[in-house]
Assembly symmetry: C2
Homo-oligomer: 111 residues x 2
DNA sequence: TCAATACTGAAGTGATTGCTTCACTATTGC
DNA sequence: GCAATAGTGAAGCAATCACTTCAGTATTGA
């Protein structure tokens, strides 16, 4: 479920917007209500709610409504999935470079 | 330079598209020409070149033209920067949870 | 009970994206 | 030299995006 390519798509798309990354950044320091999330952003509350819905659909953020206040928090598992995708590709490349290095060193020895 | 928020923006935006992620995935297994990159993708060569330009502008991919062939390769440093941004936020959240856990454990002892 | 608070939802708008096609240039193998 | 190869660039187009405003609904504190 976490490595579902469609979910990964939603996550990277969610992270692509600077306002949404700022919201994730804020939430990494602790839960927040929609208004608290909106406070540092120069846009309407409606716009913030729309961003929040994108984040929630991506799985990066979970929200819970108590009374009239919606409290938002980060879902670290989802962050980990995005992190993992990048990490795998970077490691694949670096392993390739290491193997190539070894190969070049060996063939150098043989000449 | 690598933690320049504008560059980070370009990187996450570049990773938001599935075709571009597929290209990064292909390049993680080794360098490729534009045509090789295009081969598994169901779109025109022109479209692939446009995606490639986005990837290059973001710093995730570096290209080099020799004769009529443009060879593309991954820039692991840029991947690391995106990875790092996510990792920092996730760790901040997890540290917070740990501290909260400690606090709750302590106050429980005191009652 | 009534006003303030905290959102929610729909409609509209202008900008950006992800393609397409077509015409073009530069390089290379024969 | 000339055809095939490899890529480039511009124009156009439909869909999606990131907002806006405005009108609405619960919830809550005094």
């Amino acid at each position: 479920m976490l490595h579902d390519p469609a979910q990964l798509d939603l996550m990277f798309q969610a992270l692509a917007d600077p306002a949404r990354r700022q919201m994730v950044d804020r939430l990494s320091r602790g839960p927040a209500s929609v208004s608290q999330l909106a406070e540092p952003l120069a846009m309407s509350l409606s716009a913030v709610v729309q961003h929040l819905n994108v984040l929630e659909a991506s799985g990066l953020v979970r929200t819970e409504k108590l009374g009239r206040v919606r409290t938002c928090r980060i879902e670290p598992q989802a962050l980990r999935a995005a992190e993992h995708w990048i990490n795998e590709r970077r490691l694949a490349w670096e392993r390739r470079l290491d193997l190539l290095g070894d190969f070049l060193a060996e063939t150098k020895d043989e000449t």
